[in-house]
Amino acid sequence: MPEMTYVAAIAEATREEMERDESVYLMGEDIRQSVYGASAGLVDLFGEDRVIDTPLSESGFFGAAIGSSLVGQRPIVETVTSFFWVGMDQMISQASKMRYMFGGQATLPVTWRARMFYARGAAAHHSDRNYPVFMNCPGIKIICPTNPYDAKGLLKTAVRDNDPCILFEDGIAISSRGEVPANEDLPNGELLVPFGEARIVREGTDVTVVGVAGGVAHAEAAADVMAQEGVSVEVIDPRTLVPLDKKTILKSVEKTGRLVIADPAHKVCSAASEIASIVAEEGFWSLQAPIMKVASEQVNIPYSPALEPLVYPTPERVVAAIRETLS
């Protein structure tokens, strides 16, 4: 099976969807020059009407994307998670609420793709892992691909979905390579990954570790360490947080009796908090130990390389949490 990078998978999904449906277009800052790598060459293929460089006006162009989606367009908006704050009114007051508030009259097939930089010395204004904020707001589907296969398949699904979607592109996973099947080798001729279906990254019997976004890589590294000690770790990647495949998580916990959640978001009201709460409410009698959350410390992201690594989950912290659930 051919290998490609996460960024290349995003670019391929975008190109395929733009070829398939001429209502799909891409807008964002510096996309014609492909500053973040995922839109290289698209302006040559599709022209400036469908690959739109915007002014630095997140309220304006997020809203314009929403408005165009109401009358038949399918915009993909490229941005950075930290700039969500700048255009938040359009995302929450409009995108997340319009359909319900107008009694189902509005249909908004708009997809945001946002690079989630962190752990690279970018300091507090460019290190936001803010998917939990959106989980708290009904009306937006939230997607966290952690490998090239899912990046391609989930983006294509998001573009075809008729609701607002946000794809959080993990800055740590972004340069990873992975297998992505060629279309001609797929039964339907294309790669579509459905929402709400978690991926069991590896099966195990002693502890369940749910990884969120970049937490999946830490969970896998921790599982390798524990395997050397004879501990069998089951690693689960929910892939989408809204909708969340709680059945797969609960079933795993029923088997293992132990749960650790690795989530690079700030730990208060994180995705990890929500998953822990679901398992506490609905899977309590399966648990043989307290649930452990390994999420970012509740502090703003510092610049100094001496401080920043202290904030985030690491494989070592996940290992420590696994050991604690086993003690």
Binding site: S57, G67, Y100, G103, G104
Partner: protein
Amino acid sequence: MPPDRDTLMLMLERMYRIRLFEETVIEIHSTGELQGPAHPYIGEEAVAVGACAALRDTDYIAGNHRSHGHPIAKGGDLKRALAELLGKQGGYCHGKGGSMHLADFSVGILGESGIVASSVPIATGAALASKQQGKDFVSLVFFGDGASNQGACHESMNLASLWNLPVIFLCENNQYAITTSYKNSVSVDHVSDRAPAYNMPGVLVDGQDAIAVYEAVTVAVQRARAGEGPTLIEALTYRFEDHSLGLDRIRKSAYRSEEEVEEWRKRDPLDIHEEALISTGVATREECDAMKSDVVVLVAEALEFARESPYPEPSDLFEDMWADPIPAP
């Protein structure tokens, strides 16, 4: 160019609809039948009616929290409008939106937003779609003097001009953002003075004169359809009532004088339009009165429909969330 007779009469009828609808709203709010805030459009009817008369059915509008006049002017159904205000299943939004979100998408409305200025980018995006799809529909957004100071408004005007989009920015300058005069919040004499900064025409029009609004919007629509880009129109108007029903505390404050209110009430947009039609022989007083009587009946029938419409069922709580439904968490 002046509107033809049918258009002039349609404008009169729509103005009666809005006025009598709003008087009914005030009445049923005073008795407690209508709950929650409601922002009467009385005094500003000429703006929505003049603007919508210059649009085609296939054009789009977007509006704000003072949302009752816009859908009625665009041809929205009165029954479903009143049912929405009463929180009934038969409303435009099945009772999910209420007074600040009275949007009838079936007549080309893209939403009425309770967050001022947040519809301005939405209308800009619809205009972008028109251009991308190679169609000739335009979009028009109503926003207030207060909203004109929001970043979303400035960003949208820059985008629309930069991309030459078929959108009309129509500022309903009713002079007060709740209690704050535009003279204390807008840095130029008029909102329309800002147009040159976005390299688009800026037009100041008498917002009490429906024909004047119609003519200004017609020019802007022609310009938009011809691919010549956006226009900023400021319609100077006045809200005859207070900001919102149910905000009685504001009534007692002295943010505007009784004398000022009375002066503006002398420029009632319905009187001005009736007078224009009668003085030019387009209609007689009797024809106007007969039309108004018909609208009285329409509004009464709408109220009856709204009262008889059932409330949503508890099971409707989770309806209308998703176009492609997902399981509840």
